[in-house]
């Protein structure tokens, strides 16, 4: 239980960062974000993404454009807002620090 909890916390901690990273590559549709995240084995179901996207959008980190689709209703294509870009830069820095911290910690453990 403790193990699971720590795992999910670690996963959750980087989830938003990863989402921002994916979106930073360019305008992207929600299911494509999912595809990327699935590839990274971070998220398994789409449904959990939508609340996160909505929250990030409400916090002003994202914005979206409606794009007409040939298959079904119009799609929301997400992009990073300037603010989101700033936040991402900060997160990048934090991630480098974390990476360094983790690397330093596990160094010579073997």
């Amino acid at each position: 239980m403790l193990v699971e909890n720590t795992q999910t916390q670690m996963r959750k901690g980087i989830l938003e960062y990863c989402i921002l990273c994916v979106i930073a590559k360019g305008e992207i549709y929600a299911s494509d974000i999912i595809a990327e995240l699935k590839k990274a084995q971070l998220l398994v179901v789409e449904g959990t993404l939508y609340p996160l996207l909505t929250r990030l959008k409400n916090n002003g980190l994202l914005s979206y454009n409606w794009v007409e689709s040939t298959s079904g209703p119009p799609r929301k294509y997400y992009v990073l807002s300037p603010e989101g870009r700033q936040v991402l830069e900060q997160l990048d820095k934090t991630w480098q620090e974390l990476y360094f911290a983790v690397q330093t910690s596990i160094e010579g453990r073997k």
């Binding site: 916390q9 179901v45 789409e46 939508y50 609340p51 909505t54 689709s69 298959s71 119009p74």
Partner: protein, 611 residues
Amino acid sequence: MPCKHQLKEENNNRINFNIMNKTIIININGTVFHIEEQAYELLKEYMTDVKRHFFNSADSLEITTDIENRIAEMFTEILAREARQAIIDQDVTAVIEQMGSVKDFENAEEEGSAAGFAEPNFTMGAGATTRRLFRDPEDHLIGGVCAGIANYFDIKAVWVRLFFAVCFLFAGTGAMVYIILWIIVPKALTRADKMAMKGEPLDLQGFKRNFEAEMSTVGGRLNELRQDARPLAFQTRDFISDFFHHLTTFFGGAGKILIKVLGIAIILACIGGSIAIVVLLCATWFFGGDNFSVPDTFFNYAYINQVRVAFALLAIIPLTTLVILISSAVFNTTGLNRSAGYTLLIIWISSLGILLYHGSRVASEFRDSAGFTQTMNLKPTPNQVYYLELNETRFLTHEDSTRLNIKTRFNNMVLTDDDDNDDLEPNSMRIEIERSDVPYPVLVEEFTSRGSNYEEALSNARNTRYVFAQQDSVLKFDYKLRRLDNKMWHGEEVKLTLRIPLNATVMVNDKINRYINNSMNLWDCSPNPENRNNRTFSPFVMTTEGLQCKLDSAVTAVQEPPVQSSNTPDTVIVVQGKRNTKLTPDTIYLDSTEAPAPVRKPVVIRKYRKK
């Protein structure tokens, strides 16, 4: 953003002949799908779960719309890929798998809260089993207050309602308390509120139970669910809109008859009031106000008819409007149209303006004041005893006396003014008794009046007549100051100062005492208290300290004034105050009520003498 986000079931069911399953046409945010009944049930269940999961989140509408859109897209892709017409349950299962079940969402959210991303959903977890006071929007007669209280105490709502109904009988306390509670107690808007109201635990099992209970009681209330998904829209509904909402339902329901009866009563009252005003105004119009106990002096204003019309309109227009509005509400007819309403409003404002104009005009005629004094020496009597009497004779103008045929109809009778009018007439005469420096009585008459300027005021004061008569020892004071023309009253007054020599005696009765400023206690000074009436004279003697009661045999001996025995008033009348005699009445009817009742003296008709 697409407008519709709910699953909309359309009526026409179709038969799919290949596998003989019934299909249903659904509309997901504008995209139409054929879906098999079984698959539809599955999808509906899933979407209900999803909406229930997100309904308490501020972004529930957006999130569920995103999910629905994505589902629609996936369906479209599946149908295109597999070249099928209808969605089957395998498709729905696949979509749900990809989208994730509610359990997956829950896990994600648990992670979220563990990592500090707490959504506001379940922050009330600690107070889950304690009940909170809300107004119950599902079980309400008026505002849901009683049902809310009943939920709070876990009793049946009918007892609370009964309690409030009984309280209402005590001077409406119940209604008062109810309205206050209605204002301060929040309405249970979200499901979490409703559950807190009923003391259900605020966990997912509780939600599920609550939801299932609702679904079972009100079957298929997807509509309600949609409303639940928009808490913000509900939060904007304030007390007022709520109140009117319930008021209209009340109007449409049990209170309808009561309201109608009340409305009809108000209409009848308004019509009655209008009729009364019209009758009163017509009456004063035709009869000049004389017959209606209203001081006619106020009706001698030059533009009185304008004032009457304006007053009538001022009073009747609101009453009529009220009648029309209430009748339109009660009888469901069309009310006043806009232009008629504006016309009435303009007329009403104009009447108000006219009244204000004339009011200020009249007020301006009271701006300044003026007066003059006139002194006359009275004939002293040998024993220095003076009887003060009030003259209540009614004076008629020549026209009036001929019109009313006074001489023949009221022969041998005396016309006196009715006492009842005294309260409404301006009290225009006052008497002050002082000590005289000379050995004979002196009467000083001071006439004052108001006017728009000094000259006007003085002219108004001169335009009056005061009748004072001395008959030996009897001093007859007219009970009021009279105007000589038909002008409006301007506060004309006469102040009489009667100066009597030292040791002289004045005999005063109740009737005249009302007009005397000196405070004299007639009751304590009555010669025979057992048998006194308002015509019984009490003796007062003038001393160096002023008037003092003097009850001795010498005075009580002369109880009746000597004039009563003389019975010849026409020989001794002295008429004073003959200023501006232009419109002087030529007929005077003198009071002789001092005489024993059966013996009536002949009416004295006397030509008014000019100086």
